[in-house]
């Protein structure tokens, strides 16, 4: 019984939901209330599940602080930042319906979260520079082709490419709009097939990732 509940029934639910999505796509081109409802549920479940990570992270840092693990002071910093932001945000939401209506939340959002988000997002610029420096070396034909395509695209993307040599934009555009098409298209084709095959295997209970220890605790 427990195996049925813990494993088979779980697969059945996955399979049924998947099939409902197929049925809608192929037989109800306008809309099908059953699939639509299930999808709406999935959206809601997903939203609720996002809180789980939060619970885990708080547990992680609280334990780190209690046990005075290395760098525990930073766990305290994390918890303080978290608590202030959470309560001010909720206060704003419960008060007016919009979280940013709370002054403290809004200030932290604009002046801490926003610049930090932009900063960390842009940090890739540095790393891509060193990655290009190391990877773009003509070690063999494969690497040389990657190097040539990469450099022409880089130069053609910037208006200055045309100033250096009038042929750069034409060659760069060829790489961007023709040269790379087979390479990119193949990822669509085989990636798509891979998605279908993986889904099929998982639905049949063959993929370890999905049934993740499903037979027992």
């Amino acid at each position: 019984m427990s195996n049925i509940l813990k494993r088979e029934a779980v697969f059945a639910v996955t399979g049924i939901v998947t099939v409902l999505m197929f049925v809608e796509y192929f037989f109800f081109p306008q809309d099908w209330i059953v699939a639509s409802t299930i999808r709406n549920w999935a959206v809601i479940i997903y939203n609720i599940s996002l809180g789980l990570g939060g619970v885990r992270l708080i547990m992680q840092h609280t334990m780190g602080t209690q046990r005075r693990r290395e760098n525990w002071q930073f766990s305290v910093l994390f918890l303080v930042a978290f608590v202030i932001m959470l309560f001010t945000g909720l206060a704003g939401y419960l008060g007016t319906g919009v979280a940013t209506s709370n002054g403290i939340y809004n200030w932290l959002f604009n002046n801490v979260y926003t610049p930090l988000g932009s900063t960390t997002y842009a940090i890739t610029g540095f790393y891509i520079f060193s990655a290009a420096y190391r990877a773009f070396r003509a070690r063999n034909v494969d690497a040389a082709l990657m190097l040539i395509a990469g450099c022409f695209v880089i130069l053609s993307n910037a208006p200055v490419g045309e100033v250096i040599w009038s042929g750069i934009p034409a060659i760069g555009e060829w790489f961007r709009f023709v040269g790379q098409v087979p390479g990119m298209r193949v990822f669509g084709v085989v990636g798509g097939l891979g998605t279908i095959a993986y889904g099929f295997r998982a639905l049949l209970g063959k993929e370890r990732g999905f049934y993740a220890g499903g037979a027992e605790e």
Binding site: S49, L52, Y127, A131, V190, L193, T195, G209, A212, G214
Partner: protein
């Protein structure tokens, strides 16, 4: 046509899975990235440092293209964890995906159990980091502080791939990468020692298990690929002669 191709794919996969069950053997071609996993774990054992696994932030489970990548990454995690338990190496799983956390934790727990050492599983070896930028900065911090000997960067990655992989390079870690996200492949190719490109990521699970069912399904998939190659080849020749029969057929 979509319907026909979907059914045909299922049918072929099922047929070859059936043949696999009947004893017909299929082999997956050598995937250097998978062969390198024991080496990566062995390196960590020699150096007395941990192995880090992370699946990227893109793969929410209800996401059609990213979710399967996370699940494939979890298949690889199970194998890596088993190897780590055998070698007595610590493994840290840094997971930024809340909905995948239960699977990650259960997978590792199961791997420890299968190696007869359930008591060694430390739930804190699964670390959660919320949000992309926080995940990235947190992982960089982890790399610098714990200095893992090897990193396994497989799954649905977004822009954090190049940062985490360059962070791994900085500390001299051996790196195995893998993703089906085209936009991150160039960076993992540039920064990792071994790489699972696109569908190879999904096939890795089958290669690891050696399960005839799974290998059969990959064979079925290959037959579809050959069919598509043939369609493209014939379609190209007909198309060049301005006969659009195949294109019209596929548009149906």
């Amino acid at each position: 046509m979509t319907f026909i191709l979907l059914i045909l794919t299922f049918a072929l996969m099922y047929y070859y899975m059936y043949l696999g069950k009947q004893g017909k053997t299929f082999k997956i071609r050598t995937l250097p990235a998978i062969q390198a996993i024991p080496e990566a774990v062995g390196r960590a054992a020699e150096m007395g440092q941990p192995v880090m696994w992370t699946p990227g932030i893109a793969g929410g489970l209800n996401d059609s293209t990213q979710g399967p990548q996370t699940l494939a990454a979890i298949s690889i995690l199970e194998y890596v964890t088993e190897e780590c338990v055998k070698a007595g190496v610590k493994i840290a799983a840094i997971c930024p995906l809340p909905d995948a956390l239960p699977l990650v934790e259960e997978t590792m727990r199961t791997a420890y159990m299968s190696q007869g050492k359930p008591e060694e599983f430390d739930v804190e070896s699964v670390r959660f980091l919320s949000g992309q930028s926080a995940y990235m900065t947190g992982t960089l911090g982890y790399l610098q502080r714990e200095r893992p000997a090897s990193t396994i960067l497989v799954g649905g990655f977004y822009y954090e791939s190049v940062i985490i992989a360059e962070g791994g390079n900085t500390i001299g870690a051996m790196q195995i990468g893998g993703t089906n996200n085209t936009h991150q492949m160039p960076f993992l190719v540039a920064t990792c020692d071994y790489m699972l490109l696109a569908e190879e990521l999904y096939a890795a699970g089958a290669a690891i298990s050696g399960n005839p069912d799974m290998l059969g399904s990959i064979k079925g998939e290959d037959i579809i690929k050959l069919l598509l190659v043939a369609l493209t080849g014939v379609g190209f020749l007909l198309g060049a002669a301005k006969i659009n029969f195949i294109a019209d057929l596929l548009r149906m």
